[in-house]
């Protein structure tokens, strides 16, 4: 197995890069393995950053994916605060600003993504922050004291989760969304309206159609200025308006890129010995017959496993329908599948009850489900979405039929 591979280098120690390294070792790879991370920490979970960790419920070391001893025990050379500056594909080397270059037989690029920032006047003031890394949260959290005023820009999952966590800390939260609905990029109106009501009921001041003109303050932000002249006073601003894939190394090396670094179903880039996984890749979305870029734990873990299998010539894991989750206040949202292109939405359960699901269909087949505090709808829905199962909307909506029965009918 994997004969002739002496050294695998993984660039990026987030969930995808770490998983690639873990899976390589778990699958019996015996050669040298280097995992390069540009942060100061060993690989950690990002999802709690905008949830429990922001609320102070967890210590940083509870986020780490593996204990420190794991890396030495498994001969993974984990290098933190390492930022490669150039890839030389012909010479098979990773180059750094200082220090010797690193040679490789197989390369994995898992450089992830970075928060998109605003270019408005004053956006560079202190106190205009983003939320992506542990260090970001450590910078944000001291501001979130009882009675402090936080303005969140962007009504996506990161912004909403941070707003919910801050609200629970007694912070006065205003959330500004440019579009007429929350979560416009990722879900439909039923879920968006549900979260709008949930946040408003908890005391978050949510403003839709908000157009921001700029930030003001002396050194540190103290005011957000809206179109029309309104000024909102604040102590801190959190910008959550999406991410930009970190493609620079790949692009400079001449690897084919589209919306992300292009990989095939085996996680292979346009160079046969260079692989990639995680937030930065544009991969085949096999359940949907198209390609796309996903930002999720599932995508990172699955991509890492696929890459490891490909490098070692092992059978790849079966791709699951993409899945996601979000925790806000007492609401657990679990999503399976991708709703883009849906021509019908079917609500199962009572939207007012706090426990319901929305199924998204196209030409009678299930594309995706958003399940609110509804585990069975999520788990069965994930299988239904993976198979593009055909189901009568009246059956899906019938709460007298259990998800077990619905699943059995559709999956046979």
């Amino acid at each position: 197995m994997a004969s002739g591979i002496e050294h695998v280098v993984v660039i990026g120690a987030g969930q995808a890069g770490a998983q690639a390294a873990y899976s390589l070792r778990q699958s019996g790879f015996e050669g040298a393995l280097t995992l390069l991370g540009d942060e100061a920490y060993p690989p950690y979970q990002r999802p709690p950053l905008s949830k429990g960790y922001l609320k102070g419920e967890l210590e940083a070391d509870r986020l780490f994916l593996k204990p420190g001893s794991y890396y030495s025990d498994n001969r993974i050379d984990l290098v933190t605060s390492a930022a490669p500056v150039r890839l030389d594909l012909a010479a098979r080397r990773v180059e750094f600003q200082a220090g010797p270059a690193l040679g490789w037989d197989r390369l994995v690029i898992a450089t992830g993504a970075r928060p998109r920032m605003l270019t408005l006047p004053g956006a560079g003031l202190d106190g205009v922050l983003a939320l992506r890394t542990l260090a970001d949260v450590d910078q944000l959290r001291p501001y979130l004291t009882t009675g402090a005023r936080l303005i969140v820009i962007g009504g996506g999952y990161i912004g909403l989760e941070a707003a919910a966590a801050a609200c629970r800390l007694g912070v006065s939260v205003t959330l500004l969304e440019a579009a007429p609905q929350l979560l416009g990029r990722v879900t439909g109106p039923e879920i968006a309206d549900f979260f709008l009501r949930t946040h408003r009921a908890a005391g978050v001041n949510v403003r839709l159609n908000a157009v921001i003109e700029g930030f003001e303050g002396t050194g540190r932000v103290s005011t957000v200025r809206l179109a029309g002249g309104e000024r909102l006073d604040c102590d801190v601003v959190l910008v959550g308006i999406g991410v930009i894939p970190n493609l620079e190394l790949a692009q400079q090396a001449g690897l084919a890129c589209g919306a992300g670094l292009i990989v095939d179903r085996a996680g292979r880039t346009s160079h046969p010995d260079v692989f990639a996984a995680g937030d930065l890749v544009q991969r085949p979305l096999v359940h949907y017959g198209r390609v796309g870029r996903l930002e999720s734990v599932h995508n990172a873990i699955e991509g890492g496993k696929i890459v490891a299998a490909s490098i070692l010539g092992l059978p790849p894991p079966t791709e699951e329908a993409p899945w996601f989750w979000s925790d806000q206040f007492d609401v657990k949202l679990q999503t399976a599948g991708l709703w883009t292109g849906a021509d019908q939405r079917v609500v199962r359960g009572d939207l007012e009850s706090g426990r319901f699901a929305v199924f998204y269909l196209k030409e009678g087949r299930i594309l995706a489900v958003d399940a609110v505090n509804a585990g069975p709808e999520f788990l069965v829905g994930k299988r239904l979405a993976a198979l593009s199962a055909r189901l009568a909307p009246s059956e899906l909506a019938d709460v007298n039929l259990s998800m077990k029965e619905i699943g059995a009918r559709a999956l046979g």
Binding site: P48, L65, Y70, W325, K332, N373, G375
Partner: protein
Amino acid sequence: MPKITFIDAAGAQRTVEAKNGMTVMETAVKNNIPGIDADCGGACACATCHVYVKAEYLDRVGKPSAMEQSMLDFAENVKENSRLSCQIKISDDLEGLSVTTPESQH
């Protein structure tokens, strides 16, 4: 600090020291116990930290919450004593707890 024993599907046992307040899933991860994937990191969102709890400890670990139960209803190879290990919090009550990991989490 309570001791917890993990038994894999093949019967191999490992006993580790756990910390009160952490979960059984976290204890497994910190101690490099194979067989618990925990893809979602403990958010009760993925059902990949499934374990079987030894009968005499079932009462002490308590009943699964509604969300955990519904996740378990649809996990693979579920038995009467199945639990999601991310939802079991360690306390002195669980001294000597023993859990078995399933053959596969997917």
